[in-house]
């Protein structure tokens, strides 16, 4: 079981919580499991082809999954996934 940190803009789609636990062997599985639990997050994270939207950064612990194996990056028990969209408030 991994923990997914939800950014402020996605919190309305997950019932307002900051973290959601989700199962999966790799980053893609964990995020799809999150989308199964909270369908409103599906289109916000994934493009139509099933790949991550370019504007969504996902970190496994402190590393960008794009420099790892992307959605295929293995996820271990207790790992933390951080979903990070850009914010522009000042």
């Amino acid at each position: 079981m991994a923990t997914v940190r939800i950014p402020p803009v996605l919190r309305p789609s997950v019932g307002g919580v900051k973290e959601v636990d989700a199962d999966g062997e790799n980053v893609g599985d964990v995020l799809r499991s999150l989308a199964d639990q909270h369908p409103a997050t599906q289109s916000q994270m994934f493009a139509e082809g099933g790949e991550l939207n370019r504007y969504v950064n996902v970190y496994l612990n402190d590393e960008d999954v794009r420099v790892l194996d992307g959605l295929d990056t293995p996820v271990g028990d207790g790992d933390v996934l951080v979903i990070l969209p850009a914010m522009a408030g000042g």
Partner: protein
């Protein structure tokens, strides 16, 4: 019979090695001045304040024996000593030889001849007694000291936005003695700003934010030259405004300007201390072009309007821009003074409700649309290219 003072100096000069200013100048320019050659100014402080040879260290002759090891720990290093005319430095050279320094020369004709020949001199800036007192708590910090404070007094920092993030940053950078602080903002103070924009006051509602900010900053520290830009930064004016600034503080409230700023600062190679806030969440990073990633390496494309609540009014904890703005101010000071490890290649997330900080790695993108190319290849019409901007905020409603 004891020799006269003049005769004594003549005798000393015959026992030591002397060097012509022309040779010293040549060595400085050939690069030998970097490390292998130590130039020591043995004059008194009042003389040094009026000018010295670039790169010279000041060790007054009266403190030579006690302080030379601090300035030149290696006794085999090549040392050139100078004073005003070459007499005190000759005596000092003799002393250094007696202390075991192996390669010491006294510069003939001293600083006077050096200057007469038109060689380069540095005139150190001298702080006034009022400045020494005002910045005394900085001077006491070894990482800053008078050298760091002087760097701050000489520095030019531009704040984009005198709003939530810009308010605390402007206050503390003014207090710290940043010599020139530019502020870009085209807005006027509104009652709804005052829950967080602490540089403004209730009696200044309706006043341009740049004027209100400048008034507060100069009341806090009249040393600071506040440069006001009462305008909205865009592609037509950005190069003109930002050029010449040492550091830029990004506290703007919209994506298009953040991308435009990124592209222009990569082109001009100016570091940006960037923060953004929303609700109880803040993000902070330092984008130093070509040393680390740029904003587009982190966020290659902006989120769609429905996921980018930056166009209209959004809620934010009033204290949060204070927290994030002061972290920005801290990074600015570190960059200017050259202390510590700036937040380059790292993104700091602060979540106020949980009181947690998270640090993420940010890598340079070898395919980055902007910073993967040399700065002079970034054309003006490429800067700030932002997909569908006209529709962006309209879609956000």
């Amino acid at each position: 019979m004891s020799p006269s003072g003049a005769e004594f100096i003549r005798q000393i000069k015959s026992q030591i090695a002397q060097v012509d200013p022309g040779d010293v100048n040549e060595q400085l320019h050939s690069g030998n001045g970097n490390g292998s050659l130590a130039i020591i100014d043995v004059r008194e402080s009042e003389e040094v304040e009026r000018g010295l040879i670039p790169g010279a260290k000041h060790v007054p002759r009266g403190h030579l024996e006690s302080r030379i090891e601090g300035a030149v720990p290696d006794r085999s290093q090549h040392v050139v000593l100078y004073c005003a005319s070459g007499n005190r430095s000759a005596l000092a050279a003799k002393t250094l030889e007696e202390l075991g320094y192996e390669n010491v020369e006294s510069m003939t004709g001293g600083y006077t001849l050096w200057k007469d020949r038109g060689y380069k001199v540095d005139v150190p800036k001298v702080m006034t007694p009022e400045q020494r007192e005002r910045y005394s708590r900085h001077m006491l910090v070894p990482e800053i000291g008078s050298e760091g404070q002087q760097k701050m007094l000489d520095a030019k920092v531009l704040l984009l936005g005198a709003g939530g993030l810009g308010s605390p940053t402007a206050l503390y950078l003014a207090a710290a003695g940043i010599g020139t602080i530019g502020i870009v903002d085209d807005d006027v103070v509104d009652l709804s700003n005052l829950q967080r924009q602490v540089i403004h006051t209730t009696d200044r509602i309706g006043v341009p934010k740049v004027d209100s900010a400048a008034e507060t900053m100069n009341a806090l520290n009249p040393d600071v030259n506040v440069v006001k830009y009462e305008t909205r930064i865009d592609a037509s004016n950005i190069m003109e405004i930002i050029e010449g600034y040492d550091v830029i503080v990004d506290g703007v409230d919209n994506f298009p300007t953040r991308y435009l700023l990124n592209d222009a600062t990569v082109r001009l190679q100016i570091p940006v201390v960037s923060a953004s806030i929303l609700g109880f969440d803040g993000q902070l990073s330092v984008f130093k072009p070509y040393d680390g990633p740029c904003y587009r390496c982190l966020y290659p494309v902006p989120p769609p309007a429905e996921l980018a609540p930056s166009c209209g009014a959004n809620g934010v904890l009033g204290v949060l821009p204070g927290t994030m703005g002061l972290l920005q101010a801290t990074e600015v000071v570190k960059l200017i003074v050259g202390a510590g490890e700036p937040l380059i290649g790292r993104l700091l997330l602060y979540e106020a409700l949980g009181a947690t900080f998270t640090e993420l790695k940010v890598r340079r993108d070898p395919e980055c649309a902007i910073c993967s190319r040399p700065p002079d290849e970034i054309a003006e019409d490429e800067m700030g290219v932002f997909p569908d901007y006209e529709a962006f905020c309209a879609a956000a409603g």
